[in-house]
């Protein structure tokens, strides 16, 4: 499977990566090779094989609804780049609300 240049630009934009022209060329090539490798699976007969998202056949791992101590606000905020009114201060948001 060949990856197009515009697909790489799109994915880089989604990941907020600022790629140079040279990098776009390089990653189009490299990511293309990785996808090509994955397409080998397409050669196999997988009819009747359930899709697998996880290698462990485990289900229903849960915890009780019990409060556990968290982190101290002072400690957490002291490692934040900027703080205002006990909240994390982030620069002006340029993107869109999700």
């Amino acid at each position: 499977m060949k990856l197009s240049r515009s697909e790489v630009v799109h994915v880089a934009n989604l990941a907020r990566l600022d790629l140079s022209e040279v990098e776009v060329e390089l990653f189009t090539e490299q990511l293309g090779l990785i996808l090509e490798h994955a397409t080998d699976i397409g050669a196999l007969d997988l009819d009747g094989v359930e899709p697998t998202a996880r290698p462990v056949p485990q289900e229903n791992v849960m915890r009780q609804d019990e409060v556990r101590p968290g982190l101290d606000r002072r400690d957490v905020l002291s490692s934040a780049p900027a703080v205002e009114s006990n909240r994390f201060l982030v620069p002006r948001i340029i993107g869109e609300e999700p």
Partner: protein
């Protein structure tokens, strides 16, 4: 906007997010509470610190299944995905949600008017942190900077997605009201729109009457009350119809409802449509509740609002008036029907108990815990016997709720609410009549509505102690004796 709206049909689907009433968050042990000091309920998991791992809260699953079963959904094995986006309300830069395999699917909700709205799915996901935009009027685009509180980040949510089966703002309102009743009745969520524990987004489109294809839809956000829900839908439908009538096209986009201006405005255009790159959450395993668990949740559901309303209606004798039906709806929605049922069991008239529950008790819900149901029931009986006027009964209920006292007879005595004897009432009525000869003449000549005037006068003179019914009876007796 004046457009020909009658040749169009509005098509609405609703997405309702509700916060679950768990003690802790969905994937960590931080408390799930509203209104705390910012960033006091946070830990490595909900801050997305490297190396932290989520573990699913079993109570959140239980509550999600309650919602699903109450909405007639199928409960199926499900899984979690990461929804990726860059926005500081999630420290991880993704939200854990359910994507192609939701826990609940294919249900429906029946509204009080008998109409049925399909429920596509009701899935589990985590809430985001709270962002506050500083400067520029508090909107994200114009703000100078934003502040983030992660207390809400990771709070368990169920998102309930309806089919596009709703046809008007009024029906959307009925759907959300009924849904809220169900959430409260199943103790899954507190359903408080004003605190944001229940949030509604509306997908609105219009199409010519008789058309089978759907029109292009817009998603309307920021609907913080039932009132804004209906207003926003009506506005948005009219806006789209006007576009079409002017030969323009509706753009698929997300629009922001502004309560003050009563209008919607574009939030983001189609070109910027989000690509969330969902992929399976590698840190969580599949969720597959077994039949025994599902059965026990089904058993714990208790009667749903529709059946509880039917119970009240039967206590009222089966054919309630319009205002009584409104009281029935409100009483069940506010979870107060047990008061009416208990009072009726003790022999109080159901209609009076319903009126007091849906007005006096409902207007003071914060003090509900202090109200002893037996004391409520006794107060209603005292009023129905005429031992208390309605003004006095209301005051006694207020006192019971504010103090937690359980002895309405003593409360009435302490307030000086002695029942007025027939003799005293007769004196007061005679006084009122002699003070207003003109009105009395008109009453005698058949102006029945003037009885309200005399009730008011007597009430004022007795500071609410007189019973309105007794006053009317005395007026009738007087007028009959004058006619002789």
């Amino acid at each position: 906007m004046s457009v020909d709206r009658n040749s169009f049909e509005t098509v609405i689907g609703l997405e309702v997010h509700c916060e679950l009433l768990t003690a802790t968050k969905l994937f960590c042990g931080c408390p799930n509470v509203f209104g705390e000091e910012p960033n006091t309920n946070i830990c490595p998991v909900c801050l997305g610190l490297p190396g932290s791992l989520p573990v699913l809260n079993s109570q959140a699953v239980e509550l999600a299944m309650r919602i699903g079963l109450a909405l007639n959904c199928e409960i199926r094995p499900s899984s979690f995905h990461r929804k990726n986006y860059f926005y500081p309300d999630q420290a991880k830069d993704y939200q854990i949600s359910q994507y192609d395999e939701p826990i609940n699917s294919n249900g429906f909700l029946e509204l009080p008017d008998g109409s049925r709205v399909g429920v596509t799915r009701a899935h589990l996901e985590e809430d985001t942190g709270k962002t506050t935009h500083v400067g520029g009027g508090g909107r994200v685009h114009s703000a100078e900077r934003s502040l983030v509180d992660y207390n809400r980040s990771g709070v368990p949510l169920v998102e309930i997605v309806s089919e596009p089966d709703i046809r008007s703002g009024a029906q959307a309102r009925a759907y959300v009201s009924e849904l809220r009743s169900i959430l409260v009745a199943t103790r899954a969520s507190d359903g408080k729109m004003e605190e944001g524990s229940m949030r509604v987004d509306a997908n609105v489109s219009v199409r010519p009457l008789g058309a089978t294809e759907f029109g292009t839809r817009c998603e309307v956000k920021n609907l913080n009350s039932l009132r804004s829900l209906t207003r926003a839908i009506d506005y948005e439908a009219a806006r789209q119809i006007e576009l079409i009538n002017n030969g323009e096209e509706v753009q698929q986009e997300t629009r922001h409802w502004d309560e003050d201006s009563g209008s919607t405005s574009s939030m983001r255009s189609k070109e910027e449509a989000y690509d969330y790159r969902y992929f399976p959450e590698p840190d969580l395993v599949r969720l597959a509740p077994d039949d025994a668990w599902i059965a026990s949740v089904r058993e714990s559901l208790g009667p749903l609002p529709a059946r509880r309303r039917a119970k009240l209606v039967s206590l009222l004798g089966g054919s309630p008036s319009g205002p009584e039906m409104d009281q029935v709806l409100a009483t069940v929605e506010l979870d107060l029907d047990f008061l009416v049922i208990e009072a009726a069991k003790a022999g109080a008239p159901a209609a009076l108990a319903l009126a007091r529950a849906s007005n006096e008790v409902a207007s003071n819900l914060d003090a509900l815990r202090s109200l002893d149901p037996a004391a409520f029931s006794t107060t209603v009986q005292m009023e129905s016997r005429g031992d208390l006027s309605s003004t006095q009964a209301k005051a006694v209920i207020a006192e019971l709720m504010s103090t937690g006292r359980t002895d309405p007879v003593a409360v009435a005595r302490d307030k000086g609410f002695e029942a007025m004897s027939g003799e005293l009432i007769a004196q007061e009525v005679a006084k009122a009549v002699s003070e207003a000869p003109q009105e009395w003449k008109r009453y005698l000549s058949g102006e029945e509505k003037l009885s309200q005037f005399f009730i008011g006068k007597v009430m004022k003179a007795t500071r609410g102690k007189a019973n309105g019914k007794d006053v009317v009876a005395e007026l009738r007796r007087l007028s009959a004796s004058e006619g002789e």
